[in-house]
Each structure stands twice: as structure tokens, then as C-alpha cells.
Symmetry: C2
Subunit: 151 residues, 2 copies
DNA sequence: TACAATTTAATTGTTGACAATTTAATTGTA
DNA sequence: TACAATTAAATTGTCAACAATTAAATTGTA
């Protein structure tokens, strides 16, 4: 029924969009990110800028490399994101004095203060993801399993 | 333990990257798409081009609107993707004679032939996603639940 | 110490994603 | 029929993602 050669409409099952795991994953990630937009607009943040801020709320100072490891992003993506956040006065960017290769990113007061206002965002998001607590935990577990084995 | 106000390191739990569902989703989708790259390179296809071809292998002719509904993409994304696929001679693009607003996308012979060669790709992918059959089914179910409730 | 190797960010170039707008064709209706 | 409203795709502009390369600082070692 699900072998490679079994065909309906002369396409192997494994080449059908809906039989793949990757496509729902891709579609779902886009749909969720999309939902963030109206929630983040009032704070003048994009989703990528938001997750960058999340790292900083947990860790006041961090360099680009370490930030990239947490977010799975490289400096090519992060440099412009960080410059944007700096221009919004949410973060500061300075070279480390010990090692000038490192760029240290820090929250500004304004950036730190944002944390208090923005807690409504994850609350609103979890509302519109219509899963039970158990389903959410299960999904989280499965996603992490893939992420760790992929790395 | 997981209330909004419960804090460790003075960040509410709900604002921690790893407590969110959206971030693992985003990270996982990127990791999987990334894995496609070396598999698709020999066919000179990007992931987006690949899923576009998948729709066409199932449905020989389709217009941009319908294609966009299947892939959750708009014409702003699809127009350049389709032009690229056309330049690679995998598809043809023609206006419908009945309604000139519609652009009809069709497989070329070369594009149709690609299907036979590319079946190894989903096979290789399913190998490197380290889930049991049951886990994969469960993940698929959960993702679809989110996608449908989000739309 | 000198200089090769490594490390860190930034830059460049390509592709993707999407909002907002534009253009052209078709449909609805006064 | 005339023309307003709608529809489909393309265009424009912005941000994101990532490979590959570059520039600068640091580290390792002959």
C-alpha cells in the first residue's frame, strides 16, 4: 500500500506531497510564523527579531557565534537582524575588549523593558494552536528528536 | 511550574525559546529543508522548486492560483520559481485560451522524466529522519491539525 | 619572534517569502 | 452596452536564509 512502486495516478506514494513529513513541517512552520505577524507588529518586531530578543532576555550578553548556535542561524543572517534591532534601540553591539573578533550583543534598557510588555504574545499564540497539553508535549518531543538527530 | 509568572533567571517560562512550540517547529523545518539540499543538487532543484514539481507530477496542468493553494505560496513567490523551472526546461508556462488571466503550468517531457530518477530522494530523506513509523504518523497528524486550524 | 592556521563577523550573491500595488482580463450589473 | 467590481498573475520592496568569500584578530608552532 505504501511501497515505492505502488502507484495511484502514476505517481509513487513517496513522491506525493501529503505523504511526506517535510512538507507539512514546512507548511506548518510557515503558518505559525505567519500568525505571529499581527501579534508582533505592535512591537515593531519580525519573527526572527523576536526570537533573537528571546535569547537576549535569557542571557543579557552574547556574541554572534553563540547566538547563532542557539537560533541555528549564521552571521550572514544575524548581522542584518542585529543591525535592525540596534537601530530600534533594543540592543547594543560592541566588540569585545578581550578579543576583538567577538561582537558582543547586549540588551538596552528599552530592549529589556520590552520583555514585560511582550508576554501577551506567547499567551495569544498558545491559544490559537489548538492542541491539548499532551499533544503539544508529544509534538515538542518529536520535533526535538528530529532536530537532534539531524544536527 | 509553568505559569506565566513563574520565573527562572527572571524570564517567564512562556518567553523561553525551548518552551515554545513555534521555535522547534521553525528549527526543525529548516533542518529538514537543509538536508534536502545535497540530495536535490544533482537535479539542479531547490526545495521550493522540488515541491512545485511534486504537484506537477500529480497533476499535469495547473494554474498559478491552484498551485499556490496546494503549496501555500502566492504568485509573488511562485512567479520567479516557475520562471526558473521554465528556464531549466522542466515546465512550460502558457496563458489559458479560455481565460487569459490564467497562466497554465505544464510538465515538459524532461520534467515528467525527472520523476523516475528522483524517487531516491524521498527514500533517502525518510532514512535520515529517525522516527518510528508510529511516531511519523503521529507527527503528521499533529502537524495537520495545526495547519487546518490555522487556516 | 615570524608566520601559518584558525576563528569570528561581515560581505556578496542567490533564492525564497510575503505584503502591497499594478496590470490586464473577465464578470456582474445599472 | 458601458463601466464598476472582481479575479489572476506579475511587479516592487522588504526581510530572511544560507553558501561562499573576505577581512581582521587571535592562536599555534617552527
Amino acid at each position: 500500500m505504501k511501497s515505492r512502486d505502488k502507484k495511484t495516478n502514476d505517481v509513487p506514494d513517496c513522491l506525493k506531497l501529503d505523504n511526506q513529513l517535510c512538507f507539512p513541517l514546512y507548511a506548518c512552520a510557515k503558518a505559525v510564523t505567519h500568525r505571529y505577524r499581527p501579534l508582533l507588529d505592535p512591537f515593531d518586531l519580525t519573527y526572527t527579531q523576536y526570537i533573537t530578543m528571546m535569547v537576549l532576555w535569557e542571557k543579557k550578553a552574547i556574541n554572534v557565534k553563540e547566538l547563532g548556535e542557539k537560533l541555528y542561524l549564521d552571521s550572514g543572517t544575524l548581522t542584518p537582524v542585529l543591525k535592525k534591532l540596534e537601530s530600534k534601540h533594543y540592543i547594543s553591539r560592541h566588540r569585545s575588549e578581550q578579543d576583538e573578533r567577538n561582537l558582543i550583543v547586549k540588551l538596552t534598557e528599552e530592549g529589556a523593558a520590552l520583555k514585560e510588555k511582550i508576554v501577551t504574545v506567547p499567551e495569544q499564540m498558545s491559544c490559537c494552536i489548538d492542541l491539548t497539553r499532551e499533544e503539544a508535549v508529544e509534538l515538542h518531543k518529536l520535533l526535538h528528536k528530529i532536530i537532534t538527530t539531524m544536527k
